[in-house]
Amino acid sequence: MIRTFAILLCAVFFCNASFAGGDANQLYEALRKKIFQVKDYQALVEMKIEVNYMRIPQLTGKLYFKSPDKMRLERTGGLSILPKKNINLTLSNLIPSGQVVVMDAGYAMLNGKKVRVMKIVPELDAGDIVLTKMWIDEESLLAMRTETTTRNDGTVIMEMQYAAYAQYALPDRVTIFMDLKDYKLPKGVTLDYNQSADLKPKKKTENQKGNIQIKYLKYEINKGLSDAVFNQKN
Amino acid sequence: MEPIIAVEHLSKSFKKRLAVNDLSFSIAEGEVYGFLGQNGAGKSTTMRMLLGLIFPDKGAIFIRGQRFDNSKRHLLRSIGAIIERPDMYGYLSGWDNLKIFATLTDPNTPDARLHEVLEVVGLNGRENDKFSAYSQGMKQRLGIAVAMVNKPDLLILDEPTNGLDPQGIAEIRNLIRSLSKDHGKTILISSHLLHEMELIASSMLVLHRGKKIADGKVNDLLNPAQTLVEFAIQDTTIIMDQLLHSAWASTLDQHAADALVFKLHPDRIPLLNAWIVEQGGRVKGIRSKHSLEDYFLSITHD
């Protein structure tokens, strides 16, 4: 009884809020339309992966994307490292597919700018995404931050900065924050040379935070990428 | 003349075993000097000390008047040696072995010199065979070639005829004689065979359990005329005066109140006995002391 009442109260609150500055559904739809106008792109990127247990230098390469969920980082002769498929690096992947319920969460300040906050919940239970929270700059119609809760991979937070490709809702810089499991191999197998500072015992943590920073240098948008690009091996 | 080697009170022990005990001797230039003694007598240990392989506990070694431990490297330039077996690198040829050891003494040893010594030891034509394929005699000859290749004044050869057949022994013997006679080398040679010493050496030192028991010219040491004969006489003073004025005086070696020791050939014992009796001496007994050979045989058979 109390639960039902709480849900009703929430619904009333969100409904009231959505009327505060224009229809949240319309805003979401306009943004979604803007995001989905990009069917594919290839971009020169610089990628920096910052995970406690990973020491990876800045990677440069070509990032290919094809809607809805194909992505590949090409590094000629080198290795490419991307988070698992369900935590993709583009905004379009962090918005639930199909019918959604959009809930207005009012306004907030993000990096000194007033942004509209809304929560998007998929109507169907099938997908991996449970909830996406978006911080939207209404003026430029751009998502500045998203917080996506997934069924299997915890919460993924994305922060975006836009410049030259703002009209396509394609960011110049993206920082993805995610939850990661700890990593450990037996010392007897690796026979480490433990002379450096890492001799000090580390705090034991079950889960760790990590982030990936991507700088997009140059986009080529909607050139009709073939699927074969995504099947190639580096 | 200054001896080429002079050894003074040399001693060496290994753990509790005294290998060389207060040994002194000297070797004159041009001599073939023999070390005689059974196995373990201390011959090799002494030779090793002369070459700086073993460090003496006591005593001093002088070579050409210079103290050996002070100028070892300099003095070794004028010494060639084989100690025990002439072991070399089996996988290398005789030539390679000779070249390596020659170069260790003189990096500029010319190939002509190598050919020359190979000629002297009779290995010309076999120099390219692997050392492991050489017979024992060839190995010994190559060892001698290695010892003499840098034209040393002094050769130290430890049992160079060991393990050879009679013909091989004769060959090495002739070679050593020739090195002394024709090349003027001073040679220190060791053997456990008295006969061998007799044939090669001019002087000799007999070692037994690390101690010198005799040394001198081989001819003197092995001469029967030098046999010591002891006459036990009741009162030697009765005949002493006549004896000292007789022809036997030169054979008298030692005298005491009840004994006289003569150095003479055993054949002359009856004559001397008759003479003493004639002079009024009361002979209680006659004992001929062992000759060197007898003595050596007795010690090598204990």
């Binding site: 247990y53 002769g77 290795l79 988070p83 499991k181 002379q195 580096n234 | 700086g52 170069t103 130290i156």
Partner: protein, 279 residues
């Protein structure tokens, strides 16, 4: 001295036994390369389980650089044995053969002889490491191609870009030379006590194995002595595949290895200079 060294090397390289080491290095590297060619994928997947759960790595993981690293890691215990085979034989082998007494009747000092034995062992070690580099790295690059290298530590995943690898390998091989030179000096030291090469070779390996176990045991008692064991520092070459490269630690390891090498050499000279040659 140069002539003496020349003949020492001539003796080492005319001896068929010397080439066994080069053969063993070739054989071991070939076996690992073949195994990696046929089943490397599953080996890598097994090692990368923890990473693969969360990241998708595409590209030629099994490249020549990684195989080279795997080979170097596996040969950690074998190369010291091969070095000991020659260095342990240096004095004891001559004593056993009977040539030591012949050498020492020549006008060369015992210090000089030890130094020549050490330099020749160092040259042999260097050539062996160069051959290892050819087999482990260059053959692997030829067989598996190039690419970025993944280095898995017990608590870290390190990715090194392919253009950043060759100097690391060069430095690692130089470090390995130093580590193996320490082994050579230990083997020469033990060789000075014996008249038979087997003893010093086995003793050298015994020392290396026991100390390596101590270096790797995670017990507080051993943590006190670990920094002073040369075996702890022998794997310093791995530091060049870390990010960032722990230069300070590598410098410390180099210092320890050089100190041990000089120590072993000095003790050999002290002992051998007074040793009675009775062989």
């Amino acid at each position: 001295m140069i002539k003496l060294l020349w003949f020492e090397l001539y003796k080492i390289f005319r001896r068929p036994r010397t080439y066994i080491s080069f053969g063993i290095v070739t054989a071991i590297t070939s076996v690992i390369q073949l195994a990696m060619l046929s089943d490397g994928e599953s080996f890598v997947n097994f090692a990368m389980q923890g990473i693969n759960e969360q990241f998708e790595i595409q590209g030629r993981i099994m490249n020549g650089y990684l195989i080279g690293y795997i080979i170097l890691q596996s040969l950690l215990i074998h190369i010291p044995l091969l070095v000991a085979l020659v260095a342990g034989d240096s004095l004891a082998g001559e004593a056993n053969l009977g040539t030591l007494r012949l050498i020492l009747t020549r006008p060369i000092s015992r210090h000089q002889l030890i130094l020549v034995k050490f330099i020749s062992s160092f040259i042999y070690t260097t050539l062996l490491i160069i051959w290892l580099a050819v087999c482990a790295l260059f053959f692997s690059l030829w067989l598996f191609g190039t690419g970025d290298m993944i280095n898995l530590k017990s608590d870290a995943f390190i990715l090194i870009l392919k253009d950043d690898l060759m100097w690391r390998y060069g430095a690692a091989f130089l470090f390995a030379m130093l580590a193996m030179t320490t082994i050579a000096s230990l083997a020469i030291f033990l060789s000075a006590f014996a008249d038979n090469a087997i003893g010093p070779i086995i003793s050298t390996m015994g020392v290396v194995v026991v100390l390596t176990i101590l270096s790797n045991l995670e017990l507080p008692l051993f943590n006190l002595v670990k920094p002073y064991l040369f075996t702890t520092h022998m794997i310093g070459w791995k530091g060049f595949f870390d990010d960032p490269v722990p230069y300070e630690a590598i410098r410390r390891s180099c210092f320890v290895l050089v100190a041990y090498t000089i120590g072993f050499l000095g003790m050999t000279m002290l002992y051998f200079n007074k040793k009675d040659i009775r062989s």
